[in-house]
């Protein structure tokens, strides 16, 4: 059995002139939570749509659970589950009716359907409200049911497309726990999000995606570690002498520094130490600081560093 459950090579999707996905090549290992981190419109949902056989790639190949998504879509569909970004539920039906319906669509026989629906309802903590119409649920409950509907047929790979959008922190934690439990049970999960803290907490590996391309792919620890100790933005206006820049670069704890649009961007090895040194230098040279921003080392700053954009822009 191959170690990789998803493998793509040069995967591309074009809509007329627009290239939504520009030749993605990556692999997801069996049993891991793989994160797709990127802002809205980066190409995450389009990629998931191709991997789940909803749309055909314009170019490239994708093998999911051992089958080609174009040539053997039925085989792929049997082995995957999709939790779409939208609340893909029937609001006037109860949770049980929704799950019964989706279970039947996935071919579950009546004798296995009922216990499986009970099990899934229990898993997402909705057993007590199973008979209530979904429209009476809170946003978090709907999100949990949305996930439950994708689990009924025990897929080998689960695509979770922004599963926590519009969810309160408490429900978000509950969803994280469900996802981790599924991983512990051996399910492979492709988790798309534009919340860096979700990717950091859940994902073994993360592909940072922007404008249809994978910018970088590694474990969150490695990505953050490679990047360093954070970014410091210092507002200096146009009054800062140019000769200060080499002095900044030579300070202990500073990895790199550059001047851009009336501010200095400093990449730090250790942000706290670098900040103290910077303040000393600016005081000594009489340079005014008009603004100060310290960005902690995390995937958000990695993304910002790599793309020049914030995740939630």
């Amino acid at each position: 059995m191959s170690q990789n459950i998803v493998e793509t090579r040069g995967l591309m999707k074009r809509y007329g002139e627009l290239e939504a996905v520009k030749g993605l090549s990556f692999a997801i290992r069996r049993g891991e939570i793989f994160g797709f981190l990127g802002p809205n419109g980066a190409g995450k949902t389009t990629t998931i749509s191709m991997l789940s056989c909803l749309i055909e790639p314009t170019q490239g190949t994708a093998i999911v659970a051992g089958h080609d998504v174009v040539k053997a879509s039925s085989e792929v569909k049997r082995r995957i589950g999709l939790v779409p970004q939208e609340l893909a539920l029937y609001p006037t039906l109860s949770a049980r009716d929704n799950l019964n319906y989706f279970g039947r669509i996935y071919g579950l026989r009546e004798r296995e359907l009922r216990p499986r629906v009970d099990e899934v309802l229990e898993m997402v903590g909705l057993a007590e409200r199973a008979k209530a119409a979904v429209k009476t649920y809170s946003g978090g409950m709907k999100r949990r049911l949305n996930i439950a509907a994708g689990l009924l047929h025990r897929p080998e790979v689960l695509f979770l497309d922004e599963p926590t959008v519009g969810v309160d922190p408490q429900s978000r934690n509950a969803i994280f726990e469900h996802v981790e439990r599924l991983r512990d049970e051996g399910m492979t999960i492709l988790y798309t999000t534009h919340y860096m803290e979700e990717a950091e907490r859940l994902c073994e590996r993360v592909a940072i995606i922007d404008e249809g391309r994978i910018v970088t792919l590694d474990t969150p620890r490695k990505l953050i570690g490679d990047f360093g100790g954070g970014i410091i933005h210092l507002g200096v206006g146009n009054g800062m002498a140019d000769e200060i820049l080499p002095q900044i670069r030579s300070l202990p704890g500073v990895k790199a520094a550059a001047r851009m649009d009336g501010k200095v961007k400093v990449e730090a090895v250790q942000a706290q130490e670098a900040l103290i040194r910077l303040l000393e230098l600016f005081t000594r040279t009489g340079t005014d600081i008009t603004a100060l921003e310290v960005l902690e080392p995390n995937l958000e700053t990695v993304f910002l560093h790599l793309t020049g954009k914030r995740l939630r822009e």
């Binding site: 749309i55 999709l82 939208e86 893909a88 989706f102």
Partner: protein, 412 residues
């Protein structure tokens, strides 16, 4: 405040006009309705004109003086053009019945072989009545037949009364004047004639022989099929909106990931609405039966037409869902299709009263076949064998609508 008001108006106009398809149907719908309805209803409300006369087929089996006079009187009416031949041959009873049965004409006037003879017998004092037959499609509503009845009866009665009165005057004068001395004989205008007051002419409405009509249908049997077919096709908008809703809310996306073929997914949407259609038909006919005593005819034939109709209506729903890209477009498209096709298909008025090009066009609507199917069962007394062509045509429409719908439907 005015600024906010104008901003809101401007924003909504921009949203509205971005949906070009939707806005087009909004304007297209009333225009189509005016054109189609006005043209179709021309036959019902117009008396006919010199340039566009109403054609009135006449079969003259009598070949006598009086029938000829009535035909001439009818032909002299403005806007009426009497047809005594069809395809170059003199009209016979059989041909006339076929014209009515096939829907080419909704009414044919027939003068029986003894029409003139009966009038002559009446003038000689016998208690005879000359009958004029109106061969009509029982499905054609009374409102449409009544003016023709009045026109034919009026013309026949005038001709007959004139003939009878003239004969009586001549006979009466001859016998009375013969008994009087010459100086006492009155001028002819001083003689008052008394008639017996009874009509000389009687109108008899008959259906073509192939239709097993013992009792002519009542107004409910004539009207209920039209409103039923019209109502059944309202499902088009509801169904198309539901499919669009599933796409919008993402449930379709989830279902498309399941291992089932796309046509099966759409077929699954069709079946519940088919059931709704059948309940609609049962409800409408049931109410007409319970409240007005409307007879059902052959139940198997009725169920077959109803099933085929439901298939055609829901097939059209799939097509509308495939063609409409927004709620506005679907609403407009469904209303446009439903009302235009209903008018064309004869739900609001008999197709036989429409101009001939619209009659031809009506055959391309499922409504016309459904109407014909229901009328075959309810008012023409046909059984299962009699409605198979209509049921077949409806199922054909259903298949075409569904296949084009599946082909054009954007699943992603």
């Amino acid at each position: 405040m005015v600024r906010q008001l104008l901003s809101t108006t401007w924003k909504d106009l921009k949203i509205l006009f971005t949906d070009t398809g939707g806005i087009a149907t909004l304007f297209l719908m009333p225009m189509m309705f005016i054109i189609v309805m006005s043209t179709a209803l021309q036959g019902l409300f117009d008396t006919g004109t010199d340039t566009q006369p109403r054609r009135l087929p006449v079969v003259d089996l009598d070949r006598g003086t009086y029938a000829a006079k009535v035909i001439a009187a009818l032909d002299s009416i403005d806007g009426i053009e009497v047809e005594t031949t069809w395809d170059g041959e003199t009209l016979t009873r059989e041909r006339a019945e076929a014209l009515v049965a096939e829907g080419d004409r909704s009414v044919v006037v027939l003068f029986p072989i003894d029409f003139s003879e009966q009038i002559e017998a009446r003038s000689e004092g016998d208690d005879a009545t000359a009958t004029v037959e109106l061969i009509t499609d029982p499905a054609v509503s009374t409102q449409f037949i009544a003016p023709i009845q009045g026109m034919v009866f009026g013309a026949a009665e005038r001709v007959a009364e004139t003939g009878v009165a003239q004969a009586r005057i001549e006979a009466g004068l001859a016998s009375v004047l013969a008994q009087l001395p010459g100086e006492m004989r009155p001028a002819s205008d001083q003689i008052a004639l008394e008639t017996d007051g009874a009509s000389v002419v009687a109108l008899k409405q008959v259906a073509p022989a192939e239709m097993k009509i013992e009792v002519f249908p009542d107004t409910y049997q004539q009207n209920v099929p039209g409103y039923t077919v019209l109502g059944v096709f309202f499902i088009v908008g509801t169904m198309a909106s539901s499919i669009l809703g599933e796409k919008r809310e993402g449930t379709f996306r989830r279902l498309l990931v399941a291992p089932l073929p796309k046509p099966v997914l759409l077929a699954g949407k069709v079946l519940p609405y088919c059931l709704v259609n059948l309940i609609q038909v049962a409800l409408m006919f049931g109410v007409a039966h319970l409240l007005f005593g409307m007879a059902f005819g052959n139940p198997v034939a009725l169920a077959t037409v109803s099933l085929a109709l439901a298939a055609a209506a829901t097939g059209l729903g799939v097509l509308a869902a495939a063609l409409g890209k927004s709620e506005t477009q679907i609403d407009g498209l469904a209303t446009l299709l439903t009302l235009t096709m209903s008018a064309l298909g004869g739900c609001l008025m008999p197709t036989s009263a429409m101009p001939s090009f619209l009659q031809t066009l009506s055959r391309f609507t499922p409504h016309a076949w459904a109407m014909r199917g229901f009328q075959d069962v309810l008012v023409r007394g046909y059984g299962l064998a009699g409605i198979l062509p209509e049921a077949g045509a409806l199922l054909g429409f259903a298949a075409v609508f569904f296949l084009i719908g599946v082909w054009r439907f954007r699943f992603d």
